[in-house]
């Protein structure tokens, strides 16, 4: 997997763009311009960028509610992403989904799902559809470390292994399911549970782009070529609370966060690597950062200036038929008072 200097710069740029987008959204959240929950991806950026950088045209992705990083990594417009947070009609889900429910099927990005583990059967279904249609592709089904104890995840493992579906289950292990550490919530090694289903598995670190890409590529190729599923646990860390609104001091020490930031921060680590390789220069680093900040600010300006959906929009996008009345085949009342 030889990467060109341009590709490396592009991946680095994406990491920085995610970080700056998240920081900008946090500011808006604290100013109450964003409602609900805000699950920030800060600290985990290289993981999504590394995985999504491997996607081909028949590859698909689905994830849980910490979904901003993946959305940026598949190429969604940050203005539409920010506008979604602001609840605006120009948002990627027209202001109907919010932070946890980003979608862009045109980029094979199937959400953005709010229930822990609930997206994993759907991701398995993406793999099923790829295989059913005879396409050479793979589905990446992301979950957090808290999702591994959900029954739906195990049911999906079984189906994928039983039917040789091209699904790579990715556990983004940031160490905490909300405020409960892995050691307090999960028995055994997370990815090793794949053995019970005779599935391949691996685990790796998520801060290093090369490592993420190398491990994921192996299983994605296997999924595409041999239609075999796998479970890959990628160790990572989040710097912020589970959601911004959650207290962060009850379950971990500040020094733990600082330690990760000092030794494994995705920006610093990959920056140093690319600097050492002569791919990045200080000037380029500065301009990438300035661009990312400007992009995030522009996204916030766009979001702020955009209109909210109207109350007339509440009942749109519920039924395909209601949105396509000229093609409606059913009769009778679809909505009730």
């Amino acid at each position: 997997m030889q990467l060109t200097a341009e590709q490396k710069i592009e991946f680095y740029r994406q990491i920085v763009r995610i970080r700056r987008f998240e920081e900008r959204s946090l500011r808006s959240y604290l100013k109450k311009q964003i409602g609900g929950f805000l699950h920030l991806y800060i600290g985990q950026e290289a993981l999504a960028v590394g995985c999504c950088s491997l996607m081909g045209k028949n590859d698909h992705i689905i994830t849980a509610y910490r979904d901003h990083g993946h959305a940026i990594a598949v190429g969604m417009d940050t203005r539409a992403l920010m506008a979604e947070l602001y609840g605006k009609i120009t948002g990627c889900s027209k202001g109907k989904g919010g932070s946890m429910h980003y979608f862009d099927p045109s980029r094979n990005y199937w959400g953005g799902h709010g229930i822990v583990g609930g997206q994993i059967p759907l991701g398995t279904g993406l793999g099923y559809a790829i295989k059913y249609k005879g396409l050479k592709g793979a589905a990446m089904a992301f979950m957090g470390d808290g999702a591994v104890n959900q029954g739906a995840v195990h049911e999906s493992y079984n189906l994928a292994a039983l039917w040789d579906l091209p699904v790579v289950f990715v556990i983004e292990n940031n160490g905490y399911s909300m405020g409960t550490s892995q050691t307090r919530s999960s028995a055994g090694d997370l990815a090793r549970r794949a053995e019970g289903y005779h599935m391949a598995w691996a685990s790796c670190d998520g801060y290093d782009l090369y490592e993420v890409r190398s491990v994921m590529n192996e299983y994605l190729v296997r999924a595409r070529e041999e239609s075999k599923p796998a479970v890959v646990e990628i160790r990572t860390y989040r710097y912020r609370g589970h959601s911004v609104a959650d207290p962060d001091k009850t379950y971990r020490d500040k020094s733990e966060i600082e330690e990760y930031q000092r030794t494994k921060d995705p920006i610093t680590h990959n920056q140093n690597q690319f600097l050492a390789e002569g791919v990045l220069t200080e000037a380029l680093i500065e301009s990438i950062d300035a661009d990312a900040r400007a992009e995030a600010d522009a996204a916030a300006d766009f979001a702020e200036a955009s209109p909210f959906p109207t109350t007339d929009d509440i009942q749109k996008d519920v039924y395909w038929e209601a949105d396509n009345p000229d093609k409606r085949t059913s009769e009778g009342r679809l909505f009730f008072e």
């Binding site: 993406l126 999906s156 079984n158 039983l162 996008d317 395909w320 008072e337």
Partner: protein, 325 residues
């Protein structure tokens, strides 16, 4: 016209749609090799092979969720629940994912899935296997809910359900699988959301659906013979979308209403109907709206008593007499 069973009518619908659209695939527990727990899918494996007729493990959340995911990419899965009662273990997939994904994506994703299977009591299988979740399902905007009562309706509605671009939950009835009726040889579709007046009458409108429609017809016969009361039986066929216009038109002809349903009464389909009828046809009513539902308790096992817990022609007859009194 050929006379076939409700079960065969469903099978013919599946077969015709499997022939018509290569994206249609039938999945469920025991649907293939075993020929279906209730034999609805009998012979389909031999005809269509294991790619299109797929036995799943007992894993409703997993395989239903998988079908929903596949439908987002354009596969049209027809998923069998051996009993609709098992929907509870797939609740998150059915009612969080299938019902919401179109909306939460701002209309970018369609979910053309059908989930079908029996949803009824009356077979002495106790409370866990006797749920009638049509009210629970229909409470979720984004889904469609269909409950056919006859072989003719079952076939025409299932074909429409499979072609529909929204998730359709299709609730059959084990007590009706063996019922026979006329079903034409040539292809036909019945649109979802269109009620059917199964019997014309002038003194009382019974608004009903599913097996309760069949029992209401039996009661109507007795009411005519024994009490000289002319009953109109309106079979909703579809709960959502709902053909309220046909209901209101019937009410405006008879001015008396009895709702009959195999639901527990609290917040049932009948509750919604009663609200809508009083709201939209208040002046047409000559008396309060009556309702006959399942006696409000979990389904009892004891065979002779279960008959009395559910709507049956005698209970309907009694309720009808009260409604016209």
């Amino acid at each position: 016209m050929p006379v076939i069973t409700y079960r065969e009518a469903l099978r013919h619908a599946l077969s015709e749609e499997l022939d018509r659209d290569p994206n249609v695939v039938v999945l469920g527990e025991e649907v293939a090799q075993f020929n279906g727990a209730y034999k609805v899918t009998e012979t389909l494996l031999a005809k269509y092979g294991p790619k299109r007729i797929v036995d799943t493990p007992i894993s409703e959340a997993g395989f239903i969720g998988m079908g929903i995911g596949a439908s987002m990419l354009g596969v049209r899965p027809v998923m069998e629940l051996m009993f609709w009662s098992f929907y509870s273990v797939a609740f998150d997939q059915i009612l969080n994912n299938a019902a919401n994904v179109r909306y939460m994506s701002g209309g970018q994703i369609n979910c053309p899935i059908v989930i079908r299977g029996p949803a009824n009591g009356g077979t002495n299988v106790g409370a866990t296997h006797s749920h009638t979740p049509e009210n629970v399902l229909a409470n979720h905007p984004g889904v469609k809910v269909v409950v056919p009562s006859t072989p003719y309706d079952a076939k025409g509605l299932l074909k429409s359900a499979i072609r529909d671009n929204d998730p359709v939950f299709f609730l059959e009835n084990t007590m009706l699988y063996g019922d026979k009726g006329e079903v034409p040889q040539e292809e036909y579709l019945i649109p979802l959301g269109k009620a059917d007046i199964k019997r014309k009458g002038t003194d009382l409108s019974i608004i009903t659906y599913g097996r309760s429609a069949i029992q209401s017809l039996a009661a109507a016969e007795l009411l005519e013979k024994e009490h000289d009361i002319s009953v109109e039986v309106v079979d909703l066929r579809s709960i959502r979308p709902l053909d309220i216009d046909t209901v209101l038109a019937s009410v405006s002809r008879t001015h008396r209403v009895l709702i009959v349903e195999e639901q527990k009464p609290f917040a049932s389909v009948g509750s919604q109907l009663a609200f809508m009828i009083q709201r939209e046809a208040f002046d047409e009513l000559d008396g309060p709206i009556h309702r006959l539902a399942t006696v409000d308790a979990p389904a009892i096992y004891s065979p002779p008593v279960e008959i009395e817990q559910l709507p049956n022609p005698q209970r309907i007859l009694k309720a009808a007499l009260a409604a016209v009194a």
